[in-house]
Symmetry: C2
Subunit: 164 residues, 2 copies
């Protein structure tokens, strides 16, 4: 029952972070849809496949992007239907599905990326100095690592209800 007084500086930083990112996400989402008819989740999946020189399994693909197996199956299904990725059985492990990006997928990704970057620059980086960017990257890397190191959602304590 840790219950420290709550540093208002932290609280402020937290809420501004959430608000800024929410606004950012909303605008980025709009552009991805306008430019390429994809969501940010789909953009991320294409980005991973584009970056990796090898096809990835569903599990590898899911990693930080999606939080349920079926969610990925759904998204992969959409991408496949759109001709942007292809799925096939993995030879070494017949349980696994290999997902690879198609030429169309690469083309779409490359068509969409510049605008995406340009927009994030305008929205996110314009008001920041080089030093800010460095610091932001550094900070968020540590935060991400901390989040990834977090107990996997079962060791999680707390659950109070009915404290009425």
């Amino acid at each position: 029952m840790t219950h420290e007084p709550l540093d208002p500086r932290q609280l402020g930083a937290y809420f501004v972070l959430r608000e800024a990112v929410s606004l950012l996400e909303h605008q980025i989402e709009q552009q991805l849809h306008a430019d390429g008819d994809i969501s940010y989740v789909q953009f991320q999946l294409l980005a991973r496949l584009h970056h990796a020189s090898e096809p990835l399994t569903m599990t590898q693909l899911a990693d930080g992007v999606v939080y349920s197996r079926s969610g990925l199956t759904y998204q992969a299904g959409l991408l496949e239907k759109a001709g942007l990725v292809a799925r096939s059985r993995a030879p070494e492990d017949e349980r696994a599905t290999l997902v690879s990006i198609t030429a169309e997928g690469r083309a779409l990704f490359e068509r969409v990326l510049p605008g995406h970057v340009e927009l994030s620059r305008r929205l996110l980086f314009d008001p920041l100095t080089d030093d800010d960017v460095r610091h932001l990257g550094d900070i968020m890397t540590r935060v991400r690592d901390n989040l990834r190191a977090q107990p996997p959602r079962s060791a999680a304590p707390r659950k109070r209800r009915d404290t009425t």
Copy 2:
């Protein structure tokens, strides 16, 4: 057609930011549901009403939280059904709806807030120094202000398609 080479440092910072916040959001959402059966959007709405000493109109309430009128009507409807807020006609402007937080709403908010803060501290602030927090708050404030100053989504250029 600005098309600069893309500073990899910026790109990296952008993607880490997105990833970290996504992980953060996911965990926070879980806890809000477990602790109070509300979403983060609903938490924000309660927070605003709790903070404001006056009832707010739907429009005031919507501000940075929700991006469509109907979206807010939907959320307000849920909160009202749960007894956490009440809606009434505004006397000075009969078109407007005044939303006020109920005692139950305050109780829920106050019950949920400490855990919310505690979790964000553990997930977000544990790996950060005081200086990091200060800088992060400062950075995101500028970013937020920049985003809010952005042309309201009609002056937006670009729209390329069919550049096949």
